[in-house]
């Protein structure tokens, strides 16, 4: 078994003291960020990226840190859903439906324990899936040429809008805006500066780390400023999380189903964890039927979405690592990190740097155990953090963003740029134009153009090379199918919701 040998090698990497420490720190920070209402994995990872650059971490270490933050956020998101009825992040939205009623009945501890175990299983299934399926996808992707890669990028953009169910026009507008912003800077092929208006700071293009922190962290604070009073929070007695572990035993089939559904949703490009938890919850409700008391504190209503969103989070890493196509907003940011470290994810990554890929997989396994320990006996500590007032937390987020971005280049220009993107992100959110496609465009635009131009120079300027191979036609067809499926799906959801 090749995979076992690789995995053993991976554990050797992940168990190095420094990497083990990073995984642990990442899990703690991630759970904290995830637990804070409004801050989710996207903001958390975006906030951590400038810092990890400043640490001067090697690529493997930085990736382990950020992926641990990512997994930690997915775990932490449920805490405020259950305790405060405010989802800590988007994917934890479904957990409020049954988690908060459980807390009101004095079973908050049970809900927290149960959801921790469900998260553990979901993330575990996804990590296993990553180890098994990513190499398969790689063997397939190894035959890809520039034209096929161009098609893959088209697929990524087509699906990010299609599957999430918002307005298609707005998602695509966001994507093209991002692509246009991504073309700022010196053209890598000809050396001609584009749209720099003589500003030398723009010659390297718009730094997507700066853009990310602005679009997510700063805009989140602007949203928060709209209503600083917030709602009064009743204090609930939580109780021990231990009964949740037993309750998880009873919910085992639910957790298994939720994990599988979430994993599949995560692997699909553009879908992400929010869809994973949504589908897991809805299908479980359908499956259990009239026996369930969903919406009134049914433990299965907590177990299903938590297994689903954590499985989706892991599943989303598969297309990111093996194809270089992010499956969700957060994996797009992880991809940004890799690209800015001059590591191009894709089939070659598995051949050239197996120690990194498998070290990451092993770190996920270890991180998952750390998270289980953090989240069952120690969960009340994290729940306490939620009592900290917003007027303290939000300025802290702003300051961490500021210092992190400033120390990248010691330049005030970056800070102004970050503020500009913060305002842009805020406006887009108010307009219901999704921000993730903007990031994707900014991020993937360079690669997309590079592959397009390479394909064109291979064909000598003949555009038909783009659709001349069976693989690329297949990818385009898949993209169209996903868009149509997304349209049908959002129509169905709209018909269902009041």
């Amino acid at each position: 078994m090749d995979i076992l040998a690789f995995l053993a090698q991976g554990f050797a990497v992940a168990l190095e003291p420094q990497n083990l420490f990073l995984a642990f720190i990442g899990c703690v920070i991630g759970t904290l960020i995830g637990a804070l209402p409004g801050l989710g994995p996207v903001n958390g990872v975006a906030l951590m990226i400038p810092l990890s650059f400043n640490f001067g971490l090697p690529a493997t270490g930085a990736l382990i840190l950020l992926v641990s933050v990512y997994y930690g956020c997915m775990y932490g998101g449920r805490i405020s859903s259950i305790v405060l009825n405010i989802p800590g992040d988007e994917p934890a939205m479904m957990t409020t439906l049954d988690g908060y009623p459980m807390a009101l009945q004095g079973r908050g501890g049970e809900a927290l324990g149960l959801s921790a175990v469900a998260s553990f299983v979901g993330a575990g299934v996804a990590t296993l899936g990553l180890a098994l399926f990513a190499p398969l996808l790689v063997q397939f992707a190894i035959r890809f040429g520039p034209a096929e890669y161009f098609a893959l990028f088209v697929l990524a953009f087509a699906t990010i809008g299609g599957v999430t169910g918002g307005s298609l026009v707005k998602s695509f507008t966001a994507a093209f805006l991002g692509l246009l912003l991504g073309s700022v800077g010196i053209d890598a092929v000809s050396g001609v500066p584009r749209y720099t208006f003589g500003l030398y700071e723009l010659y390297d293009g718009i730094d997507f780390i700066v853009a990310l922190v602005g679009l997510f962290a700063i805009s989140e604070c602007l949203i928060y400023l709209e209503d600083i009073r917030g709602t009064s929070r009743p204090t609930l007695t939580l109780g021990s999380a231990m009964p949740g572990v037993r309750s998880a035993g009873r919910c085992a089939p639910t957790i298994a189903r939720g994990s599988l559904i979430g994993f599949v949703a995560g692997v699909l490009p553009g879908a992400g964890a929010a869809l994973g938890s949504f589908l897991a919850y809805m299908l479980e409700k359908r499956w259990v039927g009239r026996d369930g008391r969903f919406g009134q504190g049914d433990p299965r209503g907590v177990a299903a979405p938590e297994a689903g969103n954590n499985a989706a989070a892991g599943g989303a890493l598969i297309p990111m690592l093996s194809l270089g196509i992010p499956g969700s907003g957060t994996t797009a940011i992880l991809l940004a990190l890799l690209l800015s470290m001059n590591i191009t994810p894709g089939p070659l990554l598995f051949e050239q740097q197996p120690e990194m890929v498998w070290g990451l997989v092993a770190a996920l396994v270890i991180g998952n155990f750390v998270l289980l320990v953090l989240n069952v006996p120690l969960v009340s500590l994290f729940a306490k953090v939620l009592q900290a007032p917003g007027w303290f937390l939000m300025p802290m987020v702003v300051m961490v963003a500021f210092v992190g971005v400033y120390s990248l280049n010691n330049s005030a220009f970056d800070l102004y740029m970050m503020l500009g993107f913060g305002v842009l992100g805020y406006a887009l959110r108010k307009l219901e134009i999704p921000t993730v496609p903007v990031v994707l465009g900014l991020l993937l635009g360079g690669q997309m153009e590079f592959n397009l131009r390479r394909a064109m120079s291979i064909s000598g300027g003949d555009w038909s090379i783009l659709w001349n191979s069976a693989i690329s036609v297949g990818i385009y067809l898949f993209a169209v199918t996903l868009i149509v499926a997304g349209l049908v799906y959002s129509w169905m959801v709209r018909a269902r919701l009041p």
Binding site: L222, L225, M396, A412, R453
Partner: protein, 158 residues
Amino acid sequence: MSDFLQDDAGRVPGVIGDRIAGALLLVLAVGAWWLSHDLESGFMQPIGPGEYPRLISLPLAALSLLLILRPGFNQRWPGRAALLRQALTLLVLASYAGLVKPLGFLPASLVAVVLLVRLFGAAWKPALVSGAVLALALYALFEFALGIPLPDMPGLDW
């Protein structure tokens, strides 16, 4: 990102907002198209540096026209008090960005954090205390624990 999970309570028709956004994006797309003609085509390359931005700005223009013609929904826009608070916050942050180097990290951050905590709704006393704590903690974290140098106060070595 996940529109399907949002409640409809905070939504308003985006007739004005979407049209303004569409118009701005249209200007952007046309401008990008216009300027791309100044980018000289590289020799020996079937596609020059201007081709790709043109390829992008065309659909962007079409989409922004669609946005103008068929506006969708917006989230509820903030009231005057909230707008003022946001503008003041941005002003504090922009001044802080400009002053952090000339004044040094500690003094600039102290003032900025106290004002920020104030703007986020705390009274003066907790704002002063927590602002000082936050600025000092961040300074200690970055300068000593992480070893990232921050701008010093002029005339002082810290």
